[in-house]
């Protein structure tokens, strides 16, 4: 009888996809450096200080 893996293996697969598509938001080698903050509160504070808009990325898994 054919069997499948339980669907709870799906998060692992999704993490792999995450890692792949995260390249969209990552600077390529040699590109001008971009600093990524890890805190939303820090981003708000920095935006208030600099007057810049915020580019906020949500990733499905760390």
């Amino acid at each position: 009888m054919a069997r499948t893996f339980h669907p709870l293996v799906a998060p692992a697969a999704r993490m792999l996809v995450c890692a792949a598509v995260l390249a969209l938001a990552q600077p390529v080698r040699g590109e001008p450096a971009v600093t990524w903050l890890e805190s939303y509160e820090d981003a708000l504070e920095e935006a208030r200080r600099t007057g810049k808009p915020i580019f906020l990325a949500f990733r499905c898994a760390p």
């Binding site: 009888m1 054919a2 069997r3 499948t4 893996f5 339980h6 669907p7 709870l8 799906a10 998060p11 999704r14 996809v17 995450c18 792949a20 598509v21 995260l22 969209l24 938001a25 600077p27 390529v28 040699g30 590109e31 001008p32 971009v34 600093t35 990524w36 903050l37 890890e38 805190s39 939303y40 509160e41 820090d42 981003a43 708000l44 920095e46 935006a47 208030r48 600099t50 007057g51 810049k52 808009p53 915020i54 580019f55 906020l56 990325a57 949500f58 990733r59 499905c60 898994a61 760390p62």
Partner: protein, 348 residues
Amino acid sequence: MLTEAETRRGRLLQQYVTARITRLDRVDLALFDYDRYNTLYFFVLNADEQIYLRYGGRDEKSATSYLNLESLELALEKGLELHRLHQQRKLPGEPHPEPLYARDIPALYERTIGRGRCVECHLVGDLLNVQRERDGTLDKLRHLYRAPELARIGIELDIPKGLRVARVTGAAAEAGMRAGDVVRELNSEAVWTFGDFQWEYGSVPLEARAVEIAVERAGELRRLELRLPPMWWLTDLTYRNLSVDPRVYFASDPLALGEKADLGLPELGFASRVRTVDSLSDLLGSHELQVGDIVYGVDGETADEVARTAELHIKLRKQAGQTVTLQVLRAGERLDLPLKTSRMSFRK
């Protein structure tokens, strides 16, 4: 040496405060609401938490169908333009939704913060539905079908060009949309990216029969009334399997019309052939289905206006923990077989 494209992207990003969020413990889930079954999703906003645009969105084939560097750069440029308008006080503000944090959702809190674990995006989607079920407010059609497909209304985008239309068929063609049009509004809400478009489209009530789409053509804005086809919101739920309770531990494919007729089964029924049986079904004593069985009924019901397979019918219409009786055809013999459903596990 940097290519022109790499330099352009770097320059755009340097005009932003860039931040990435990997846990949603202290994020306002209402303000940053999106289909949590996107693997990567972006917002452009200002320090007053006014969201200018979204970047992301998906289709049923892949979480990355609409992610593209060129269209991301277009979105970054648009975000800067909108920010300049905001600074010049030329951009109207938007009301904030009522804040909602992970700690405000008991089912989510219990499984994450309460156990010292991080609040991951997909857990928000899953456990928000668990909480809705507890509260008696879960509407599976509304809450599961969150990312309607543009293909169902005949719009194919030129993805690197953002919302530029590559091809039109069906309802979009009948509404007068043309290749080369650029989508600008949906029901009078400005949309700048596919993420904006899918977000607004996903907010249209399921019972809606039409939407107004404004397109830019030769420098002019044209408003088109697009008649929505029946079940315009229907998508394959397979990719959000974790969100859909109850567990049934099998998958099946719908029978062709001719096969239904040959077997004397109703043409509009959800009769489907078992394709796979989950390895947990034995362990949990869930059911004794075999690959090749044809499930043509569930508790005597044989048709469903939404579900085209027996397992989707159970997922949409039954509660986790219920035991149902399946009407099954096996080697020409009609059987009644019990199936005990289960609730999803959040093992990490």
